[in-house]
Symmetry: C2
Subunit: 349 residues, 2 copies
DNA sequence: TATTTTTACGCAAACGTTCCCGGTATCAAT
DNA sequence: ATTGATACCGGGAACGTTTGCGTAAAAATA
């Protein structure tokens, strides 16, 4: 029923050679005569022979492919990162296998195990919002599987990492809002223990302090599942807007959160920038076409993907075990639109 | 260097059994005594044994995984389709391997061959804008590889297909623009021979006729690479706007085209809806937040993914070769925003 | 008790490769 | 003519599974 691909055996049989000879001829071994090589190569070409990667993987325990784990591909940031990854991987002859955790720890676990059992040569991962236990990665890492973290990195595993200066991105955004005169800048964040949340929150706090304000926990809402479901964001924002010290600006802590926050504001008829100021992390490509145009913290997503992949391939192709790892920190950029331009309402003097 | 996974051999050795016995015990064969089974199962559990899927694939020539080929994942429509695919596949115990053709025929070919050689059990594909030669798919199909086409389908391969009523989507959009009073409705389309292009163009023409207008080829621009690169769209639009019968409205033929068209209009300071009316295919989730809010033809992307996957799994798991195939046609929906609301300029009577 | 049946397990081949280890011509040098 | 080297090639194991077949021991039957 299933197609029978042509194998080395077929070539051997047809040419009256052994499989060893054919294999060697194909790999251009020195102990095969030029004539035989020519014969084999031509015949292989003719019948369109392709080595079976599964057999190769089984034997060599490597697959010339790398695994990717992200929370969601329907996400501007991650899909851009993936394009960066692919651009490098493809050039270097590696295939990529993309999987999504949907912010679920169990899904991530299952994906990682699947990829490992498929003998991927390395792993590129941004952990899920739920991930706290790192056994699954720790184990693979100790057994020598090359791993490079990006975006959401973890502390306890020593390997290459690629992030951006999250604190600065958050600082710049928050600082800008405060400088515009917004008083109550709320932060809509991802799960509390994620690296990106901690760092961005640090930047947020820092901006508050620099502007003479003290950190107010009531102004921070965490979305334990990254706000993938609109309902989660809705609940968080309902909470923020229900308290007496109503925020007059929001800092959106991730691409997904920003998008869903905008949807909330629209649904509740809360207008930027007059009712609320807004700046958020987002790699949406149409931010300047939104109404009002959106102020965003943009990450160099494509670059992150390229860099992470280069580092991973370095690990994979290194002859000797790599002992020194580094963390590359790229820079986010703050793009100002109208959503953060405070309009001074009729001032009461 | 690479981790040595625990194998059936290890279990056999540890328990003083043969690999056959262990294998059968794990598969709960009737010819293994309950005690042995228990012993094996417990030990396997203890040392966290997982069957090696590569060895299985090699032997069984199936992998419990399905391959996806789309042009681009950084695309609202496709990423939503993929989520639909995954939601079904995951429930049914299948893994998905996502690949991108980037609208390149060669990339598609390479991906398809990779997936086939990786023994995917079936293929879900929306062909690239460049794809005209179907040998690569035809061959696999004849050899019995289950394939389901979605979105951009092909005629010459008889199998299940999932599309939407493209003609109606295009008709509705064009008709709406004409009814609004726009006179010169241009069409910005994908590659000419794609199914979606042909069908959508048919709907466009039909609307023209229904409104007493004849089809004008000069009002149609094709983007041979799907407008993935902004430059391609820019060139197409430059062309449209440079001719004497300047269009006063545009129908955007795909998600990517719509996005890049908006970018163009913004860059050239052409305002919707007064300078130009616009409706386009798009699954962007923020269309109502754009300025002006965007009129779009939206596809039930998640549903398409789910349906295509169900059909594929039906093919894969069918005992006997399937002979009758059907094409499922879902409905697009026209969501009207401000971008298509013609503002009557100071009329000259 | 002798024979048949059942139960429970092991052997070995197969999937498509690679590669170690041989082996046999051929030919030049002694 | 004998040796040694060189050039080419084949046999077979291994990777981790599954599975058809064979077979010992145990149980059932006569």
């Amino acid at each position: 029923m299933k197609f029978e691909a042509v194998t080395i055996k077929d070539i051997a049989k047809a040419l009256g050679l052994s499989t060893s000879t054919v294999s060697r001829a194909l790999r251009d071994s020195y102990e095969i005569s030029p004539e035989t090589k020519k014969q084999v190569l031509e015949y292989a070409q003719k019948i369109n022979y392709r080595p079976n990667p599964i057999a190769l993987s089984l034997k060599e325990k490597r697959s010339h492919s790398i695994g990717i784990v992200v929370s969601e591909i329907a996400n501007n940031f991650f899909s851009q990162v993936i394009n960066g990854i692919e651009s490098i991987a493809y050039d270097r002859g590696y295939n990529v296998v993309i999987t999504q955790s949907h912010e679920s720890y169990h899904r991530e676990l299952s994906n990682v195990q699947y990829l490992a059992s498929r003998s991927v040569d390395g792993l590129l991962i941004s952990v899920s919002a739920e991930t706290q236990d790192l056994q699954h990665l720790q184990g693979l890492h100790e057994k020598g599987l090359p791993i490079v973290f990006f975006d959401r990195v973890v502390e306890n595993i020593e390997t290459h990492k690629v992030t951006i200066d999250n604190a600065r991105g958050a600082f710049d955004a928050t600082h800008y809002l405060l400088q515009q005169g917004y008083q109550q800048v709320a932060a809509l964040m991802n799960a509390e223990y994620l690296s990106i949340t901690r760092e961005r929150l640090a930047g947020y706090k820092n901006a508050m302090n620099k502007n003479g304000l003290s950190f107010d926990p009531d102004l921070v809402q965490y979305c334990r599942h990254g706000g993938l479901d609109y309902e989660e964001v809705e609940q968080a924002l309902d909470q923020l807007f229900s308290q007496q010290k109503r925020p007059d600006a929001i800092f959106g802590g991730s691409d997904t959160l920003t998008t869903n926050c905008l949807r909330y504001l629209k649904a509740h008829n809360i207008c930027m920038p007059e009712d609320i100021g807004f700046i958020g992390f987002s790699n949406i490509d149409l931010s300047e076409l939104l109404s009002p145009s959106l102020s965003v913290v943009r990450q160099p997503a494509f670059e992150i993907g390229k860099l992470a992949t280069s580092l991973l391939l370095e690990l994979i192709e290194s002859k000797r075990p790599v002992k020194t790892f580094n963390t590359q920190v790229l820079s986010p950029s703050l793009l100002i639109g109208e959503s953060s331009q405070r309009i001074k309402k009729a001032k009461k003097l």
